[in-house]
C-alpha cells in the first residue's frame, strides 16, 4: 500500500533532496580546494610528502607555462562568449535553444577561409593585410548573419507559437542540414587559412610581464570590442530597447508600435554576426576549419550561456570566459595533483563539470535572474 502523501512526508523528501544537494556542493568544493592546495604544494616543492605519494611524477608548472594556459583559456573563453551571446539572445526572445547556432559560427569560419584564401591567391593578403582582414571579417559577418536570418525565416518562424520542444528539435535538424551542405559544397576534409604575417602572430610583451601571442591578443581585443558594441546596441539604442521589450512581452511590445517579427529577425542577425566574428577569430587562431568545427564550440558556448545565466548577455560573456579558462587551467591545476594520467583528455569533462557545479550552487547561473513560473511557462 502506498504511503499517504502527508505534509510531513513531503517535507522529509524535500529535506532529503536538500541534504543531497548540500552534500554534492560540499564534496565538489572540497575536491576543488584540495586539488588547489596540492597544486600549490607541488609548485613550492614537487617532492613534498603529499605529492610524492599521490603524484610522484609531479614537476609543477613554470610561470611561462601557467601564463600560456591562462591566455589560451581566456582567448578560447572569449570566443565561447561571443557564440554564447547568440544562444542567450535567442533564448531571451523566443524561449528556446537554437542548437543550430554552432553552425552559424562554422559558416563564419568557412566563409573566412574561402575569402582569405582567395585574397591570398591574389596577393592582397600579404600586400595589404589589414584591409584584407577587414574585408574577410565583413564578408564572414554578412554570411553568418544571413544564415541566421534565413534559418529564422525558414525553420523557426513557421513554428512560432508551437510548443518549445518543436523548434528545439528542428534546430538540431537545421544543424545537421547546414553541416551536410558544407560537406557537399566544400568537401569533408580540413581546410586551412593562409598564414598570418609575422608581426601579428609573433609573441609580444605586454605591460612588461605578460608574453602573449599576437593572434591571441587580437582575439581578446576583437572580442572585447564586439562585446562593448553589442552592449551599446542593446542598452543604448532604440533597436536594443525593442529587443529587450520583445524579449519580455511580445504583445505589449507590438502595442508600443514595435515590429515584433523584425525585432526577432534582428536578434537572430545580431547573434549571427557575433558568431561570425567568433568564427573568423577561431579561423585566424587555429587556421583550420571543417564542417564539424561548430559542434564542440557550440555545445560549450551553450553551456557557457547557461553558466552565465541564460537570457543575460553579460552573463553569456562571463560564462564563456569562466568555462574557457576552467577547461584550460583546471585539468592541470585541480586534477593533475591527484595523480590522474593524461588529465588534458578530461578538458571537456571539466567544462561540463563547471556547468554542473555552477548549477548546483546557483541554479539560475552566475548572473541569471530567478524566472517566475509565469515567465517559464
Amino acid at each position: 500500500m502506498p504511503s499517504p502523501v502527508t505534509a510531513e512526508n513531503r517535507l522529509n523528501r524535500r529535506l532529503g533532496v536538500d541534504a543531497f544537494l548540500l552534500l554534492m556542493r560540499v564534496v565538489m568544493s572540497a575536491f576543488v580546494v584540495l586539488g588547489l592546495l596540492m597544486f600549490i604544494g607541488q609548485q613550492i616543492n614537487p617532492d613534498n610528502f603529499v605529492a610524492s605519494r599521490i603524484n610522484p611524477d609531479a614537476t609543477g608548472l613554470t610561470a611561462a607555462q601557467f601564463e600560456g594556459l591562462v591566455i589560451s583559456g581566456l582567448s578560447q573563453g572569449a570566443m565561447y562568449g561571443l557564440i554564447a551571446l547568440g544562444y542567450s539572445m535567442v533564448y531571451g526572445v523566443l524561449g528556446f535553444i537554437n542548437f543550430a547556432h554552432g553552425e552559424v559560427f562554422m559558416v563564419g569560419a568557412m566563409t573566412g577561409m574561402i575569402t582569405s584564401n582567395k585574397l591570398d591567391e591574389s596577393g592582397a593578403w600579404e600586400s595589404n593585410f589589414l584591409l584584407s582582414l577587414l574585408f574577410v571579417l565583413v564578408i564572414a559577418i554578412i554570411c553568418s548573419t544571413l544564415t541566421a536570418i534565413i534559418m529564422e525565416r525558414v525553420a523557426y518562424r513557421p513554428l512560432r507559437g508551437s510548443p518549445r520542444l518543436i523548434p528545439l528539435i528542428t534546430s538540431i535538424g537545421v544543424s545537421f542540414f547546414i553541416q551536410n551542405v558544407s560537406v557537399v559544397l566544400l568537401g569533408p576534409g580540413a581546410k586551412s587559412y593562409p598564414t598570418l604575417p609575422d608581426w601579428l602572430s609573433k609573441k609580444r610583451e605586454l605591460f612588461g610581464f605578460v608574453t602573449i601571442e599576437g593572434t591571441r591578443l587580437m582575439v581578446l581585443v576583437v572580442a572585447a570590442i564586439s562585446m562593448v558594441a553589442l552592449w551599446y546596441l542593446v542598452e543604448r539604442t532604440k533597436i536594443g530597447k525593442a529587443m529587450r521589450a520583445v524579449a519580455e512581452d511580445k504583445e505589449i511590445a507590438s502595442l508600443m508600435g514595435i515590429n515584433v517579427n523584425r525585432t526577432i529577425v534582428t536578434t537572430f542577425a545580431v547573434g549571427g554576426a557575433m558568431a561570425g566574428i567568433a568564427g573568423i577569430l577561431w579561423g585566424l587562431l587555429f587556421r583550420s576549419v571543417v564542417h564539424t568545427t561548430g559542434f564542440l564550440p557550440g555545445i560549450k558556448a551553450f553551456s557557457a550561456a547557461v553558466v552565465g545565466g541564460i537570457g543575460n548577455m553579460g552573463g553569456a560573456m562571463a560564462g564563456g570566459i569562466t568555462l574557457g579558462s576552467a577547461e584550460s587551467v583546471a585539468p592541470l591545476i585541480l586534477l593533475e595533483p591527484w595523480g590522474i594520467d593524461g588529465v588534458s583528455q578530461l578538458k571537456d569533462a571539466v567544462a561540463f563539470l563547471v556547468l554542473i557545479f555552477v548549477l548546483l550552487v546557483k541554479p539560475t547561473g552566475l548572473f541569471g535572474e530567478r524566472l517566475s513560473t509565469e515567465d517559464r511557462a
Partner: protein
C-alpha cells in the same frame, strides 16, 4: 451623425463582426468616439469588451465591417500604423516591461516618434503629472508598487502622444483606495484634451467620470446613451450597478 462637439469622429467602428474560429464574438458593433471625449464601454465577462479593444488596435481583424481612425479606414493596417496616428492602449494589469527601467518603459512608449525635443517635453509633462515616477526613473519597473506601476503604464501610453487612449479595466487588481486615485488620474489626462475610452466592469465609477457610455452584451451594443442617462437607467442599475 453629428458628434457631441459637432466635429468628425476620431475613432469609429462600422458594422464590425469578429469571429474566433467559429465563435461569433462581436455582432454588428457600431460606435464613434469624438475628440476630447471620455466614454466608457460597460459589460460583463465574455461580453466582447476585450475583443472590441483588440479590434480597434488591430490585434484582431474583423470578419466584416470597418475600423476608422480620423475618418480613414484602417481595418487592415498594422498596430504600429494606428499607434503612429494617435491611438494607444493601457493594457489590463498594466503589463509593464518589469525587467526594464522605468525610463526605458516610458521611452518605449515613444518608440515610433523621432522628434527628440518633443519626446523630452512629453517626459517632463509626465513627471509633472506623476512626480513619483521621476524619483523611480532608473529603477526596474518590476520593483514598483501597484499604484506606481499604474502611473508608469499611463505615462508610457501618453508617451506616444495619443489623440485617443484606450484603457482596459484600469481598476482591475488595484486596492480599493487606489481605484479612486486611478480614476482621478484618468480625469487628469482627460483634462489635457486626450479622448479616453475606458472599458470597465466597475460601471458606477466609470460612469461617474464619463461623458457617454455603451453597454455591451454578448457581443452586441444594447445601450448607448449619455452617462447621466445610463446611470439613471433602471435596467442598467439592476444588472450592473448591483441595485435591485
Amino acid at each position: 451623425m453629428s458628434g457631441a462637439n459637432g466635429t468628425a469622429p476620431l475613432l469609429e467602428m462600422r458594422g464590425v463582426n469578429t469571429h474566433y474560429g467559429a465563435v461569433h464574438i462581436l455582432k454588428d458593433v457600431e460606435f464613434s468616439i469624438y475628440p476630447g471625449e471620455l466614454v466608457c464601454l460597460l459589460g460583463g465577462n465574455a461580453s466582447g469588451k476585450s475583443t472590441t479593444l483588440k479590434t480597434l488596435l488591430g490585434m484582431v481583424v474583423p470578419t466584416t465591417g470597418d475600423v476608422l481612425l480620423n475618418g480613414e479606414i484602417v481595418t487592415d493596417e498594422s498596430i504600429s500604423y494606428r499607434v503612429e496616428r494617435g491611438v494607444t492602449m493601457v493594457p489590463e494589469n498594466r503589463r509593464l516591461f518589469k525587467r526594464l527601467s522605468v525610463k526605458d518603459n516610458l521611452e518605449l512608449g515613444a518608440f515610433l516618434r523621432s522628434d527628440r525635443s518633443a519626446i523630452d517635453a512629453d517626459l517632463e509633462r509626465i513627471f509633472e503629472m506623476f512626480p513619483r515616477v521621476k524619483e523611480r526613473l532608473s529603477q526596474k519597473a518590476g520593483t514598483l508598487s501597484g499604484g506606481e506601476q499604474q502611473m508608469v503604464a499611463m505615462g508610457r501610453a501618453l508617451m506616444s502622444d495619443p489623440k485617443v487612449l484606450l484603457m482596459d479595466e484600469p481598476s482591475m487588481g488595484l486596492a480599493p483606495a487606489l481605484v479612486q486615485t486611478n480614476f482621478e488620474l484618468i480625469e487628469q489626462i482627460h483634462s489635457q484634451g486626450v479622448a479616453i475610452f475606458v472599458v470597465e466592469q466597475n460601471a458606477n465609477m466609470a460612469l461617474s467620470i464619463a461623458d457617454r457610455g455603451w453597454v455591451l452584451q454578448t457581443g452586441r451594443v444594447v445601450l448607448d446613451d449619455t452617462a447621466e442617462a445610463l446611470l439613471a437607467n433602471p435596467h442598467l442599475r439592476a444588472s450592473y450597478l448591483g441595485e435591485t
